[in-house]
């Protein structure tokens, strides 16, 4: 990556300034996050040396140099710029929130209220939104059972009671794994509410079931689904229930 640092005449620098210069070149991407005192600690030089160095390169001070570097980073290398992470993440979530269908949330909540037995299933990363929903429902005096093993789920699916509702949280919802379980649930008239991070094979579910895809985009490296949109859905269900239960109590 080219930067203004390449145009500096190294011969004009003192020995300690050359150390700073080298450090800046080696850590180009991260200098913008470091404070003056961080750099000084790392290099064993005084604040004044770094400031003098910045001034020698024609800046008023270290902050101006940092600003220049940040601008260059923005122009040349988008992928390594972590400054954008937060606003980017927030905007994705806001779009997701705007697109949540009010009716589905209301429907899910009425299923929770109208069914006697509530089961919640999720494994691996999906276990976290599942556990969150279970803990929250329990604190609201709605008893429910959390299942974290697929073997438990397949055993239980043979003996679900009448009037049961089953929440399934998955990343991918592989058809070959879940098909026999879903079939057994349908035979026992269990209402399935499936929250999946990616699109499911639509032939898995019947028209009576509720299915929400949270359309989560995977982070590239590492291949990670943060499940944040699933958490968000759970939060909606909880808030809606909380306010509507409170009203009944009052």
């Amino acid at each position: 990556m080219k930067s203004f640092l390449d145009t500096v005449d190294v011969n004009n620098l003192t020995s300690s300034e050359q150390i700073i210069y080298q450090y800046f070149k080696d850590h180009l991407n991260n200098i913008v996050y470091l404070s003056l005192s961080d750099i000084c600690k790392e290099l064993y030089v005084s604040n004044a040396t770094v400031i003098r160095f910045s001034q020698k390169l024609g800046f008023k001070g270290f902050n101006e140099l940092k600003f220049q570097l940040k601008n260059e980073l923005n122009l040349t290398n988008k992928s390594t710029n972590a400054w954008d992470t937060i606003p980017h993440r927030t905007s994705i979530l806001k779009d997701f929130i705007d697109n949540i269908d009010d009716k589905i949330i209301e429907q899910i909540c009425s299923e929770i209220k109208n069914h006697k037995s509530i089961y919640i299933y999720g494994r691996n990363m999906s276990s976290l939104p599942a556990k969150y929903l279970q803990s929250m429902l329990n604190t609201m005096d709605i008893p429910c059972i959390y299942i974290d093993w697929i073997d438990f789920l397949s055993a239980l699916s043979k003996s679900f009671p009448d009037n049961a509702v089953l929440f399934i949280f998955t990343n991918y919802g592989d058809k070959s794994i879940y098909e026999p379980i879903v079939k057994q649930c349908h035979e026992r008239h269990v209402k399935i509410i499936w929250i999946s991070s990616t699109d499911l094979d639509s032939s898995l579910l019947s028209s009576n079931d509720i299915y929400i895809s949270t359309h989560e985009a995977k982070l590239e490296t590492p291949p990670l689904l943060t499940k944040l949109t699933s958490f968000l859905l759970v939060q909606f269900i909880i808030e809606y229930l909380r306010h509507n239960i409170d009203k009944q109590g009052a």
Binding site: L28, N29, T80, A82, I86, Q235, Y240, N244
Partner: protein
């Protein structure tokens, strides 16, 4: 969410501890305040009337009655808007929490924490039981997926205590507390600091001791709710800051790899 309702133009850190307590009290008892006199109010919170008065002036009101008037008007407006608690109003409140949390996040601290965690120093995450455990598990799994080594979860306060006593200085301890005031977590964090550990905390915006004693801190908005003693405070903002941090952390690691290659 008091900063929105009271629309404070002053930074929270310019308020004294006493004044923060008053603010918290108003926030928790908004509907009752509007029918109180300044004497009953002062008595209830055990401060003098002049402290309350000074507080009102600091917020830009002429006195207590104006604050009351302001609260009442806000109440009327909000009751006009929300006659029925719908999904729409949940959307609004979650978005305000989200935006508030976003504005609180400080890249300097995120950067420092990312730098620490990629240094291969052992990291101990205290798991205090209850809903917070889910946040702890979330952080733990995401760190593993991001290729971190040396992440140890401590499942009990006694275990964390043991770690602090026996480990060398300079290990990293992460504490998560939605209020930042949970006593057992707070004591452990203090102990860790005393033994020369690096303390990272993830806690709410509210003035809290946990954030103050830790070396690095990630904050979020949180409003305490409970049902007859059972904690049901929303953890969504905790999940949000954790996932943002992980994304940031991976960007940071990419940046380092980039440097090594070039």
């Amino acid at each position: 969410m008091f900063p929105l309702k009271l629309n404070l133009n002053i930074p929270l850190n310019s308020l004294s501890n006493k004044e923060l307590n008053i603010l918290q009290y108003i926030h928790d008892n908004e509907d009752r305040i509007s029918i109180m006199s300044i004497q009953t109010f002062a008595k209830e919170i055990n401060y003098s009337t002049s402290t309350v008065l000074r507080f009102c002036r600091k917020l830009g009101f002429s006195g207590f009655p104006e604050l009351k008037f302001f609260l009442r008007r806000q109440e009327e407006e909000s009751s006009k808007n929300v006659t029925n608690y719908s999904v729409q109003s949940i959307k609004k409140s979650i978005i305000t929490d989200l935006e508030g949390t976003t504005s609180l996040m400080n890249t300097e601290d995120l950067f420092q924490i990312a730098k620490l965690l990629s240094s291969n120093t052992p990291v101990y995450i205290h798991s205090p039981a209850g809903l917070t455990d889910i946040s702890v598990d979330y952080l733990e799994s995401m760190l593993f997926i991001s290729g971190c080594q040396n992440i140890y979860k401590s499942p009990a306060a006694k275990m964390t205590h043991h770690y602090i006593q026996t480990l060398d200085k300079g290990n990293i301890f992460i504490f998560i507390s939605s209020s930042g005031k949970f006593e057992s977590t707070l004591n452990l964090a203090k102990e860790a600091k005393l033994h020369g550990m690096i303390v990272i905390s993830i806690s709410s915006i509210e003035n809290n001791d946990l954030a103050e004693i830790s070396n690095y801190n990630i904050r979020f908005f949180s409003k305490k709710t409970e049902n007859e003693g059972a904690d049901s405070t929303s953890r969504f903002c905790t999940f949000f800051v954790l996932s943002v941090f992980i994304e940031f952390f991976n960007e940071y690691k990419k940046g380092i790899d980039h440097e090594i290659i070039s």
